[in-house]
Point group: C2
Chain length 226, copies 2
């Protein structure tokens, strides 16, 4: 059991090291040698878990939390805003999320299917918006699929710009600006007036979440297969 | 003179070939060999104009038309919309614009300064929005810099998503969705009601422009230095 725990921990260390190399170098320039150095593990340990650089990249993309769990709110659209702000916050801190973002954004210079990540995110946002629609929170004129794809596409660009300009430090602000510009065209007025678009919200929600459950990474590890 | 014309034409052929290779392969995977093959020129001809792959990439970025000239309109915000739609149309057709877009989006795996392109585009959009403000077309609450950066960042993401999903075929539609969601938060109501957000507008404007002046590429060539 202790041995299995160690294997799980080692796998996670390698994955985080790989994600940070992908984040900084991109897929093409990333090397197994650099991942080894950063993870501080042997070649044997790495190849025990991952057969190739491609396998490492796929694992980073899989590990990415596409289903951002946020606290239930009276207004469903608030959960939509919160999911965006939590993701923006994680893109500043979480190596897996950062590495996955770059892998998903890179344009087909590898064999990873970058469409898949966009489709998963679109489905997630569509789900939230459809629930909001059922509750009468969004305007009749809204075509949920279009709005969901707008959100996913624009978010990808905003995080890319924020990465280039401030290494994601201003992403929460950029996201708030996006919400301020778009939500009046999405939410019915009574709902709009109650939405909290505070750019600090992602950090606050993440802190509250970490107090409630033992560190998310550990929960993830306990079900991971080594 | 005829010789100089030929040199200018050769330079353009090489540049378009390089742009299409950058568009498809990205900077890291692009090779001089592939550019030569696609351009159908000799190594000597290429190196006469460009010393390296990096020089080729810089030239593609320089050649990119950041200042999209559109027909003057009574409403300045219409010119803002038009510039976006013309760019969306060119991203479907123009190899230079496509290659430059990918080079600008790629995350620092080369030494090209990808911030520069975003800053240039932001300045261009800011100029249009400031003129619109002077004419009383936009709402008091708008912070022009924030709105300009939102537009540039979101556009980059939308073109990336459109590239992945449909090779830019649906970019004009995605841009119209973006305008429909954001312009009600930007324009004063009387102006908003008059804006034409037709996704076909980019193609129509480009066709009208090409009828007025001899092909834009030729105009560009006549001032290019070989």
């Amino acid at each position: 059991m202790a041995q299995q725990d160690r294997a799980i921990r080692t796998r996670r260390v390698i994955l985080e090291a790989a994600a940070s190399v992908f984040d900084e170098q991109g897929y093409d320039r990333a090397t197994i040698a650099e991942v080894l150095e950063r993870a501080g593990v042997t070649k044997g340990a790495l190849y025990f878990h991952f057969a190739s650089k491609e396998q490492l990249a796929l694992a980073v993309l899989e590990e990415q939390v596409v289903d951002i769990a946020v606290e239930p709110q009276k207004i469903k659209l608030q959960e939509f805003v919160d999911a965006g702000q939590v993701l923006a916050y994680r893109l500043r801190r979480d190596p897996i999320q950062r590495g996955a973002a770059r892998l998903a954004v890179e344009q087909g210079s590898n064999h990873l299917d970058r469409k898949q990540s966009m489709i998963s995110w679109t489905r997630f946002v569509e789900g939230l918006l459809n629930e909001a629609r059922e509750r009468g929170e969004i305007l009749e004129s809204i075509v949920v699929r279009d709005t969901a794809e707008l959100f996913v596409g624009a978010f990808a660009g905003l995080q890319m710009m924020s990465h280039a300009m401030t290494n994601q430090a201003d992403l929460s602000h950029r996201l708030t600006v996006f919400f301020e510009h778009t939500l009046p065209s999405i939410a019915v007025p009574a709902v709009l007036a109650k939405l909290n678009l505070d750019p600090e919200r992602g950090e606050k929600l993440e802190a509250a979440l970490r107090q409630k459950v033992p560190a998310a990474a550990e929960v993830g590890e306990s079900v991971a297969v080594s």
